[in-house]
């Protein structure tokens, strides 16, 4: 028994060492979160689905590569990319200066403003819907809007997903006035809005709009102005390792082609109900 266990240990140790992968982009492993509908999500059949899953498959065809799409929890998605668990991240990730310090990004394939959603019964639901403010191009106006929002959110709890630009936005501008909470997934902050634990949450409008049309989102409403630029970065792109500049070129060309021939628009309308193609 004892020796048999010893032998099993040796086998396990060798097996753990795993297999090495060569660098050749005919096979690309892509990670997505699988919990950010309709960008990417897991359906009742256990399959990954969504705008980005379709887009990734289209890009792979353009790059003449066979792709494997895997699900990976959001809070570990960048470290695991660096550790080489996969080669690209296509998971609604905004291109920000902070992330650029550690990873590389392709051209943006989508651009969606950030918006606040609250319960229809909340006093905040009365805040009128406003246009978009860009934190880079129209800083003064955007900050005036934030100040108004800040007064409305004073003393209230508000959430966003952990390590997102939305959470960064809340912590930059609202930390001293509101109770900012971070959630592992967007679905968890939705549960807490419905339960009344938090007043509202910030996420991309591309997340809220489709949700509000579904029975699960019937109690929610998007309020106030939307924001882009600044802490929100320059649109949503594919995350890549800094070392893989050749792969970045492949992605850039594929994305530019998909934007030019209207594939991104077609997929966006199919999944979001509106176009989210960024200006190229």
């Amino acid at each position: 028994m004892f020796y048999r266990l010893l032998a099993a240990g040796c086998v396990a140790a060798v097996a753990l060492a795993g297999a090495a992968e060569a660098k050749d982009w005919s096979k690309i492993k892509i990670a997505t979160e699988g919990a950010y509908a309709p960008w990417n999500f897991t359906n009742a059949a256990g399959k990954l689905e969504g705008f980005e899953v379709d887009l990734a498959n289209d890009l792979c065809k353009r790059m003449k590569a066979t792709c494997e799409i895997v699900a990976q929890d959001w809070d570990g998605i960048i470290p695991a990319l660096q550790a080489g668990k996969y080669d690209a991240i296509i998971a609604g990730m905004s291109i920000t200066a902070k992330r650029k310090e550690v990873i590389n990004f392709s051209l943006p394939y989508a651009s969606t403003p950030a918006a606040l959603a609250v319960l229809k019964t909340s006093p905040l639901a009365k805040i009128p819907v406003d246009k978009n403010y860009d934190l880079d191009k129209n800083k003064a106006d955007a900050e005036k809007q934030i100040a108004t929002l800040k007064a409305a959110l004073k003393g209230k709890a508000i959430g966003a997903q952990v390590s997102t630009t939305h959470l960064n936005f809340l912590e930059t501008y609202f930390k001293d006035a509101a109770d900012v909470r971070s959630y592992k997934t967007t679905e968890q902050h939705d549960l807490d809005i419905t339960a009344g634990r938090i007043e509202g949450a910030y996420a991309s409008i591309g997340y809220w709009k489709p949700l509000l049309g579904k029975p699960e989102g019937k109690d929610l409403v998007v309020v106030g102005p939307t924001f882009t630029g600044g802490v929100f970065g320059a649109g949503v792109g594919a995350g890549l390792r800094k070392a893989d500049d050749d792969l970045r070129k492949l992605f850039d060309d594929a994305i530019a082609a998909a934007a030019a021939d209207g594939t991104i628009k077609k997929l966006a309308v199919q999944w979001f109900g509106f176009d989210i193609t960024p200006p190229m």
């Binding site: 809070d75 909470r181 549960l191 339960a195 634990r197």
Partner: protein, 242 residues
């Protein structure tokens, strides 16, 4: 490994310690009372009571703590009846949900430890106490509980350590204790190994102090077992040398 980065990390993690200690001490304190009550219920001759206690212990020992936390935090919020009830002001706060989950969990494990302790009380001592005219609460307070607690202490010490470790799960329901902050630092810097080495050391240190504390308490509670001339283990150096 970058010492400057690790020092910064440590300073950012320290503010998470008070919350962690609060979670541990509150849930252990309430959990201990619960554990004693449940242990007594399990040993009671009244069938429905002992069955209910057994069911509670079965559920909480048979499922992962993470499931229990999610059931209480996200699960209970699903029902409008609960959201409208008097419990909601508590349950809407992640802090109290965590305390509730930890308390119920440690109550179940603790009750088994206490049951063992109570059953280890020699029958002769209980008989002797009865002969002296003690019964009910008095018997419990003077004879059974002190002996049971002393018997259960080493195992209870382990349970305390498990609770310290369990508080790391509070980060999953938005509470920023040590693990929660550690996760956040990783999200900003992507330096997982260094952050978790620092965070791990904090837990180790707290558990080390806790273990020594329980050992000192054991020593203090068993005067009949020790040599009269022996010194107290307050000499931490001696303990370390061991």
């Amino acid at each position: 490994m970058d010492p400057i980065f690790m020092w910064d990390t440590l300073q950012r993690l320290l503010p998470g310690i008070p919350l962690m200690l609060q979670l541990v001490s509150l849930s252990l304190a309430v959990g201990f009372v619960l554990a004693v009550l449940v242990a007594l219920a399990r040993l009671s001759a009244f069938r429905p009571l002992s069955a209910a206690a057994a069911g509670y212990v079965f559920f909480f020992r048979g499922t992962p703590l993470l499931v229990q936390i999610f059931l209480i935090y996200y699960g209970l919020g699903q029902f409008p009846e609960i959201r409208d009830s008097f419990l909601w002001p508590f349950l809407r706060q992640p802090y109290w949900c965590a305390i509730l989950a930890f308390t119920l969990n440690t109550g179940a494990y603790g009750s088994e430890i206490m049951r063992g302790g109570i059953q280890s009380v020699p029958w002769g001592q209980i008989e002797a106490a009865r002969v002296c005219g003690m019964s009910g609460l008095l018997l419990m307070r003077r004879i059974i509980l002190p002996i049971a607690v002393r018997q259960a202490l080493p195992a209870y010490g382990n349970e305390m350590i498990l609770m310290v470790k369990a508080t790391s799960l509070a980060s999953i329901i938005t509470l920023m204790e040590v693990t929660g902050i550690a996760q956040k630092i990783i999200a900003e810097t992507y330096r997982a190994v260094e952050v978790f080495v620092v965070a791990g050391s904090i837990y180790l240190l707290i558990n080390f102090v806790l273990t020594r504390g329980v050992r000192a308490l054991e020593w203090y509670l068993s005067p009949h077992l020790r040599d009269a001339r022996q010194a107290a283990p307050a000499t931490e150096a001696a303990a370390l040398a061991h």
